[in-house]
């Protein structure tokens, strides 16, 4: 039996992305038509039954978020789609945006019907400039055919979607920073509360969801929440787009039902197809740079929110990066930390200075000058940054480091004695000694 599923990804690569005809022929806009006959509360009940957890990384239940926003009396309410996709190793929203943009648009339109919204913003990262054009074309075509804009499908429902471009800042994926950026400001995260559902875009009540979350809505409305949920496990409804990269045979995006094992994902010929170049798996990094690392002993863990969490792992954005025996853990973590140094917005000290300090110690480990004192400091930095950083970036910047310290303490401590089991560090010193 096939391991992968084609619910959300069924049109990808198969239809002309921006064409309404192609989309309709493959069943598109049936979800919206059905939604327009339903009450907002009924739609939210389906989303709750679907057990859809936010696909952007934080896994917040979408149904509960929608229910909360519905109760807020102020209007207008804004719909915002987070298409910043900045987590390294993540490229699944790109597939939806470029190969089936109308599904994302349909999902946003259903949300607008639920909340009586007239305007939505989709914040697409600046690196996806070419995709922004495809998406704009899809919007224009939807307006021309009466699926968007004034008097949608002959009703008195009017709704428009505006594209905002990012300009290269990972922190703008954080939902409050995203709203600041849409408002034309630097993307510093906001202090919460107030919750964005109360004081969001232009200080109005706002819904922020990820691209994949919105793309799932038409399927949930059309097939019913229960049917969608049944594809997954008891806690994790439905399917997930995962992104395989690194040293694996079949890199790419796959739609999997929750509940198959990490072993299936990495080794099954239909998905990962095993480790590249006949090498051995050393570890895997889940959910982006801000996610945890796991080891071969954990391969039988089912890929779903609850099981991964109890194993100290997580779904995050859906990134699955495969690392083989040639990769040195210390060297890898240097790469991870460099990313956070570059992307820290500098607003708070634990993150701005902490990442620098972590990097400095990792460098000392890799050039053989680290001491046991440094090693202890590393652990303290993890605690401080996790507890005291202002936003999710700083709070999660050391998750990979913390999990690697647990799984690879021997390898990391070897570096205190100028030994690098993977043979990556100290190369130059060794050459100099010869």
């Amino acid at each position: 039996m096939a391991l992968t599923k084609q619910l959300i990804s069924k049109n990808c690569g198969k239809i002309k992305p921006e064409s309404i005809d192609g989309y309709i022929q493959s069943g598109g806009y049936e979800g919206l038509k059905k939604a327009l006959t339903m009450q907002p509360k009924e739609i939210i009940a389906e989303v709750k039954a679907a057990k859809l957890l936010g696909r952007g990384g934080a896994a917040y239940p979408v149904g509960a978020k929608w229910e909360h926003l519905l109760e807020i009396p102020h209007s207008p309410k804004f719909i915002v789609c987070n298409a910043d996709e900045g987590e390294p190793g993540t490229f699944k929203d790109k597939i939806l945006l470029s190969q089936d943009p109308l599904r994302v648009i349909e999902g946003m339109t259903i949300a607008a019907h639920v909340f009586g919204s007239h305007d939505a913003y989709i914040y697409i990262r600046g690196e996806y400039l070419a995709i922004q054009k495809v998406f704009q074309q899809a919007i224009d075509n939807a307006i021309a055919e009466g699926y968007l804009g004034n008097r949608i499908l002959g009703t008195d429902f009017t709704f428009n979607i505006h594209i905002t471009s990012g300009a290269g800042a990972y922190v703008c994926g954080e939902n409050s920073a995203l709203l600041n950026s849409i408002e034309g400001k630097p993307g510093y995260p906001r202090i919460k509360p107030p919750h964005l559902a109360e004081v969001g875009l232009f200080s109005m009540p706002t819904l922020v969801n990820n691209v994949e979350s919105f793309a799932t809505i038409p399927t949930i409305v059309l097939d019913g929440g229960n049917q969608y949920a049944n594809y997954g496990t008891a806690d994790s409804g439905g399917t997930k787009l995962i992104c395989l990269s690194g040293l694996v045979v079949n890199q790419g995006v796959y739609e999997i039902p929750f509940g198959i094992t990490l072993r299936d994902i990495i080794y099954n010929p239909e998905i990962g197809g095993g480790i590249a170049n006949g090498k051995k798996l050393k570890f895997f990094h889940l959910g982006g740079q801000s996610g945890p690392c796991g080891i071969p002993e954990q391969l039988d863990t089912p890929y779903c929110y609850a099981a991964l969490r109890s194993a100290g792992l997580s779904v995050g954005s859906g990134a699955v990066v495969i690392l083989d025996e040639s990769v040195c853990v210390v060297d890898y973590l240097k790469g991870v930390t460099e990313f956070f140094i570059h992307e820290s917005c500098g607003k708070c000290t634990p993150c701005r200075e902490g990442n620098q300090k972590v990097y400095a110690i990792l460098c000392k480990l890799s050039d053989g000058t680290a001491t046991t004192q440094d090693f202890k400091l590393l652990k303290r930095l993890i605690t401080t940054m996790t507890a005291a950083s202002f936003c999710g970036l700083g709070q999660s910047a050391t998750i990979a480091l913390a999990t690697c310290l647990k799984h690879f303490s021997a390898e990391i401590e070897d570096h205190l004695h100028k030994k690098c089991p993977a043979g990556v560090c100290f190369q130059e010193q060794e050459r100099a000694a010869i």
Partner: protein, 169 residues
């Protein structure tokens, strides 16, 4: 060499976007793209500030916050090599070296003819075809020495067809 953007052209970009404050990023991105040197000059930033009724410091806040902006002149083509870990483990360091040799400059430098600037970047969302370089709107993946020589020569010749064909998207 490249033609400079005139003040009239800057005003035109602002007009096409509308002068509301939320258009600031888009306006600056367009100005930078049209500049010919991949950067935003102070004179233009001043015009934008005036037209959007913003203090100049607010415009500079944005120009310095976002990685895609530069206030220093760069090459006509900015070549950005992804160094996030999925590309790092598929050997992006070697790709940087190959570009350095091909262009005769170091990372973060611009060629004397102002055609290329070589830079690092974070993940550009093409991790399945690492190692990856982004040049303007285009992405080039699964890079090898031959591919790099070919890409650089296509850009030197200004062969738009070839440039598009060689790109992954």
């Amino acid at each position: 060499m490249h033609k400079e953007l005139t003040n009239e052209q800057v005003l035109k970009i602002i007009k096409a976007n509308g002068n509301s404050k939320e258009r600031l990023l888009s306006i600056l991105l367009e100005i930078q793209k049209a500049s010919g040197h991949n950067s935003v000059d102070e004179a233009w930033a001043k015009i934008v500030a005036q037209e959007l009724h913003l203090p100049l410091t607010k415009v500079y806040n944005v120009l310095t916050f976002y990685a895609m902006f530069s206030t220093k002149h760069r090459g006509k083509y900015v070549i950005e090599i992804c160094k996030s870990t999925p590309c790092k483990v598929t050997k992006s360091d070697e790709i940087v070296q190959m570009f350095e040799e091909e262009l005769g400059i170091n990372i973060s430098e611009t060629t004397p003819d102002n055609l290329f600037t070589l830079m690092h970047t974070g993940c550009v969302g093409a991790c399945d075809i690492g190692p990856v370089a982004k040049i303007g709107e285009r992405i080039y993946g699964n890079l090898t020495k031959e591919k790099i020589s070919n890409i650089v020569s296509l850009y030197r010749k200004g062969d738009t067809n070839g440039i598009n064909q060689a790109a992954n998207f």
